[in-house]
Symmetry: D3
Subunit: 162 residues, 6 copies
């Protein structure tokens, strides 16, 4: 039953505890979740597509029913090719809501059969953003409360080399 | 598989095209939807519980896989008794978001196993609210764009008698 | 040319400097402004309809091209009867925006020919609300920064008698 | 040095872990905090003034430098009488922000010498509201995650008797 | 009567059905509308000024009382030179509101005689943004629901050449 | 007593009347305020660090108990080195709130001992932003309502040379 699979698209640059919390919540509802990592994102990513894929795979290793894949082009086209119908997005704060609402309505116009559903992350991660974590790490902060240990190491290596 | 059933709680005083749009979207994702109509709501409802149940049943008559039931007490207790795990809510606008966010987090604290997911109604119903419809109808407005014809008639009868 | 007249509906319980600022702005755009004072408003008003009319008339006495009238029923019906096309509303803050947006879209559905436009009050009045002023006056505050002197006197008399 | 004392006004109907979290944060900044419990609040409170005072006193018993007092009338007048200058408010969510912003600006107009500052509660309490807790308790929910044990007991007794 | 003319400034990169909907609404209120296309915009536009002018002219060809012009420098200076007094802006969503509010207040400080009014686009275009349309088109989406056919063709040509 | 000192961090590119209003408010609460000017900010600043320091020093010359310093790295580390505990931020509008909330929660995770408090600027500066002022000045606007005269001159010189 393909309908019971959900697609969770994003740039995941890098994966945070907030993303992982959301994937677990989605797994409690759907038979499986495909994490779809965008090849091209608006701004230049810190990590390459292959690094972002690798980190997500490592972070979700212990979760059954999770697949990690790259994608290119429109989310709705990807969802259709996967014969899925549901896109999952996290809803953290108001500014999120605005952007997400606009995206979801645009996606709906592009393909009426794809439905976007919103999940709320744990309140402990309600304020997490990959951007803030990268900024904090670049300034020397310990970010072990925000990302898995191996991601923190990767962040440090990456930012040192820059 | 009970997990694939979702509960859509509310006061539905009365049912609007916005509610029906949301139920259809939920049916495209879940195996079934139980519309749970709250017996007691904060403010005094215009329609009795039995009237609200009757109107929702009539409005969803043609939809398979929809059950309409009254409920009393906590939403999370009802969901657990139904052996369901998912609560559905519509997300129309910012003010919605605030209240819904607060409710969903409170429900999560009350029962960690119940997950709330948010769906977006069609942009044509993004501004609909039962309250505004009742106000408009009370002032003599035609509300046929907002509610099914039989609900419009019931609204008129009810408001005339007041 | 009736189109150049605008209707400014509200409860004005009582009129504030924020309302008067908005009327002046509207007069700089339109040939005339009709202030339409709602007979019935959701919550019980502090001042009677006739008191609210009287205070608004006194406050706008020096402004040419302003008419003050009571109205009952739907705003859009009133606007149509006046052969006007434009409804004016002030936009103070976010919460305003939500409610106003919902109202304006509902009104548009009720009559497509009526257009709502939004004006911004002076930043000095961006936070004024009749409700807060009444609450403050009831607790003994001087409200001379918020309402004309004669309105402040009327507020005091009214609240003393309660 | 009176200036280093801050006033934390509210209805506290009843006190929650969110309020207590805020008081602790304020104590890390100010020499002392006076919790000022409003005698009259807009809507009828569930607990009497004396019950609300008693519960707050019990909940803050172990905190030095906290005083609990009733107040009546305008917050700014109370602050002035106390020879304090700072009002503390918690900022949980957007809707809060709107209302708080409006209140703080009105208070500033009423007395320019009183400054309102905003603190952020722990993210664990970011969604707590006395209203939601009362609603949940009335429907039979355990609210031990939200309020101290003795407050939970008082809520149950109060709601049973209703 | 110059006052009855309104100026609708923007980058229009490219014109969307949302913009055209707003122009029609403005025409129902004002004697004429001048669409003022900004020469320099913050980020580099996809289309040149002359292309943006050409597309807007073609899209508004059938509308009498619409003029399309380029402008450079401050909006308020342009409005004054045109002997107009009213600036029109669309208000789609919250994030809009913030930015627009800030802009309008800044413009008011720069020239007190220029008034900004806000109109609401049709709910069918409430989520449209030139940016999202360009992103979607760049990823291969059909955007015929969002822009006139000739604009869709121009978007495809432009994005192919990039 | 170091605790009574507060740190006001920012890019101040350039200092505006809004910033100065906030510093004065903070001085009414705290024994002293250290304005900490960020060396590196996300986007390239218009003014160099040394220019931003100089302008802030000149603008706060008459205020006792204000220190102006550059800082690099994490705000929380700087605050700790200064043996201070309080970070001050201005809260102008909703979009501010979102970002500020996220920042403050991230900072709290990085160092639990640092508390962020929010102050409201005067309503006359509620809409001011360094970005909008730079944009307006670049287009030839007089910005004397927004910044001190010597800053206006510096803005003109800087923008002429570009």
């Amino acid at each position: 039953m393909n309908d019971a699979y959900a697609v969770y698209p994003g740039s995941f640059d890098p994966v945070t505890y907030g993303h992982l919390d959301l994937i677990k919540r989605a797994l409690s509802i759907f038979d499986g979740v495909t994490v779809a990592i965008a090849k091209n994102i608006g701004k230049k990513p810190l990590f390459t597509l292959s690094e972002r894929l690798g980190m997500m795979q490592q972070a979700t290793r212990s979760m059954k029913r999770v697949k990690v894949e790259p994608f290119d082009g429109l989310v709705v086209d990807y969802v259709r090719r996967k014969k899925a119908k549901v896109v999952i997005r996290g809803l953290r704060m108001i500014s999120d809501f605005e952007y997400e609402f606009q995206m979801a309505l645009t996606n709906r116009k592009l393909d009426r059969r794809v439905e976007t559903i919103f999940l709320m992350p744990s309140e402990n991660y309600a304020y997490l953003s990959s951007r803030l974590i990268k900024e904090a790490a670049a300034l020397g902060a310990r970010v072990s409360d925000f990302v898995p240990p191996f991601v923190e190491r990767r962040l440090k290596e990456k930012l040192r080399r820059k």
